[in-house]
């Protein structure tokens, strides 16, 4: 549900940057979305196609790079994907702590013509 207003905002940003760079239309929007960002890439994609109508993004491709969340072990320092209901490091059994990997939510680039 909350992807709708945020997709609207993505289209506005892409439109603005397209105009600022004297483009006539946006061909592609490249997004980076971490799995812990709280945003579902597929929903963004779905809304994008619907609400880009009539904007410079109409017909543009919305490409999403997903990032898998990583936990860092406080003992051995290695990054790992945590198991359900656990923060334990699979390499040394130490305790994992959260990192920012997987929380990404940004427009990496746009392609315009």
């Amino acid at each position: 549900m909350h992807e709708l207003p945020i997709t609207q905002h993505i289209i506005e940003l892409a439109d603005k940057h397209c105009r600022d760079n004297n483009g006539s239309r946006v061909v592609k929007v490249n997004l980076v979305i971490g799995d812990y960002s709280g945003y579902v890439g597929e929903s963004v994609q779905m809304y994008f196609d619907v609400i880009s109508e009539g904007t410079l993004c109409e017909g543009a491709k919305c490409e999403i790079e997903h990032v898998e969340p990583k936990t860092r072990c406080t003992r051995c320092g290695r990054l790992f994907k945590r198991q359900l209901l656990s923060f334990e490091c699979p390499y040394c059994g130490g305790e994992g702590e959260p990192t920012d990997i997987g929380k990404e939510f940004y427009i990496d680039s746009i392609e315009i013509e």
């Binding site: 549900m1 909350h2 207003p5 945020i6 905002h9 993505i10 940003l13 940057h17 397209c18 760079n21 483009g23 006539s24 061909v27 997004l31 812990y36 960002s37 709280g38 359900l84 209901l85 656990s86 923060f87 305790e95 994992g96 702590e97 959260p98 929380k103 939510f105 940004y106 427009i107 990496d108 680039s109 746009i110 392609e111 315009i112 013509e113």
Partner: protein, 233 residues
């Protein structure tokens, strides 16, 4: 065929929200108001928590109530003489910074105090949006189960204070407190966890004291003219 050009942006999609949130935070600091963003799942006792905290506060409370629909909680608080303002999102699952900025224009901040923003009942989306708070207060309950830090890590990771409500029900539940605390400590080393009961009122005096200490330590956002430092070692 037109040339296709690639424009590198690396622009955060929430940058605008975060910018407005920063503005709200500074504005409230200038008024001597500590902003507390209260989040928790539906039914954890967010309004009850506020009412219990107010009983032990000496500073003035202000409230922004976020609900999808209805103003029941706001009416409830107004009847207690609390300065409360309602935001209805009509379907949206969280409050964002522009909503709060708008709402603050309707509240007369006549004296320093604490503004509580009761977010939409939801353990997911509100954690992703900063709305101008100094303190993110998470209300969690023993009835939700001890696995919640593992299932909703972001909310527990971002919290500045965690309230564990309904502890009077522990004898009737299989709540594993060690497992719950282990999850919290993995995500958030230093966050204080207060055990309370909205029904008996236990534990809220400590919560109010913690929040008021934060409010009293607020740094007013102003440009200091540095005095020469005479404290030479």
């Amino acid at each position: 065929m037109h040339d296709i050009r690639k424009i590198d942006l690396q622009e955060g999609i929430l940058d605008q929200n975060d910018h407005i949130a920063e503005h709200v935070r500074e504005h409230m600091s200038d008024h001597g108001i500590l902003v507390v963003n209260e989040m928790g799942a539906p039914g954890v006792g967010k309004t009850t928590t506020l009412k219990n905290i107010f009983k032990h506060m000496s500073l003035k409370p202000y409230v922004i109530e976020g609900d999808i629909e209805s103003d029941l909680d706001t009416v409830d608080l107004k009847n207690l003489g609390v300065e409360a303002h309602q935001i209805n999102t009509y379907g949206a699952c969280h409050l964002d910074a522009p909503m709060i900025e708008h709402a603050t224009h309707h509240i007369p901040f006549d004296e320093p105090g604490i503004m509580f923003i009761e977010n939409i009942g939801n353990l997911v989306c509100p954690a992703e949006f900063t709305i101008g708070e100094h303190v993110l207060m998470l209300v969690s309950t023993v009835t939700e189960g001890s696995d919640k830090p593992y299932k909703y890590p972001l909310a527990f990771e971002k919290a500045d204070i965690i309230i564990l409500n309904k502890v009077d029900l522990i004898p009737y539940l299989d709540f594993d407190e060690d497992f719950y605390m282990k999850g919290i400590r993995a995500l958030n080393k230093d966050v204080p966890v207060f055990k309370v009961s909205g029904r008996t009122g236990e534990g809220f005096e400590e919560v109010a004291a913690w929040l008021e200490a934060k409010a009293n330590a607020l740094e007013v956002h102003e440009h200091h003219h540095e005095e020469p430092d005479h404290h030479y070692e």
